[in-house]
Symmetry: C2
């Protein structure tokens, strides 16, 4: 549903499932078999850089921190990788990825690597459910 | 110089020159011929994730935004790429890279790509000088 003219970019929509809405951002889980991978998308139209958000940058950082904490607690990962790239999808979106020293690409970044493998539906559903439960106090709803 | 036990990681030191110190972070310019590339390193010992900063996360976001603005104004780039990865260098550091649609790696991310080409000294010096001038009002000193 549009929110002040905002709608989720089709590529992000195709590659993920919705976890829910934080005050500023929609939280997505990427459909990926190898990496626990969340994406925050601020629901603001026409925004492609963090600095385009103006004072709402502070809200974005709060939400990045919430997501980082939930993902670290959920996965007990060795490292979080956080990035706003957007060279292909111009709508501002922030990746938060849990990395392990024994994962298929460690220590390389996951962006720009070969094509992703989609997750088994049951695994993705379980992951989304777990993240929702961890973040329930921060989310307005699931807005799938 | 150590600051409450903090010192710059040797790899970051080897790969960059210091631009100056913001209230939280040391600002570095990577020695790279192909990309205008700045790195923020919070001067806090033992910190490897953004969430390790606690309430200082807000200061980090302010400094990321300052650096993004300066780099965009300086380069008139097409896109900023911002990332905290740290799979190889565990000390928390945030990359801010100016990307152009005609740069050598567009639209791929620069991290994980082939070895970097060092910049000509004159170019790096000019870039650092320009960034220092743009950020002079925010920096305590150059602390090389």
């Amino acid at each position: 549903m549009p929110e002040n003219g905002w709608f989720l970019h089709q590529q992000l929509c195709d590659d993920s499932v919705a976890v829910g809405d934080l005050p500023l951002s929609r939280l997505l889980a990427m459909n990926d078999a190898d990496f626990p991978w969340l994406v925050l998308v601020p629901r603001r139209a026409g925004v492609s850089e963090i600095i385009d958000l103006g004072p709402e940058q502070a809200m974005l950082m709060d939400e990045i921190a919430l997501v980082c904490r939930a993902l670290k607690d959920e996965t007990q990962c060795d490292k979080l990788n956080v990035a706003a790239i957007g060279n292909i999808v111009p709508q501002l979106h922030i990746h938060v990825v849990a990395r392990r020293k024994d994962d298929p690409l460690w220590p390389q970044p996951i962006w720009g690597a070969a094509a992703r493998r989609p997750a088994a539906a049951v695994d993705l559903t379980r992951f989304v459910g777990s993240v929702r439960r961890r973040m329930a106090g921060s989310m307005a709803g699931t807005n799938p």
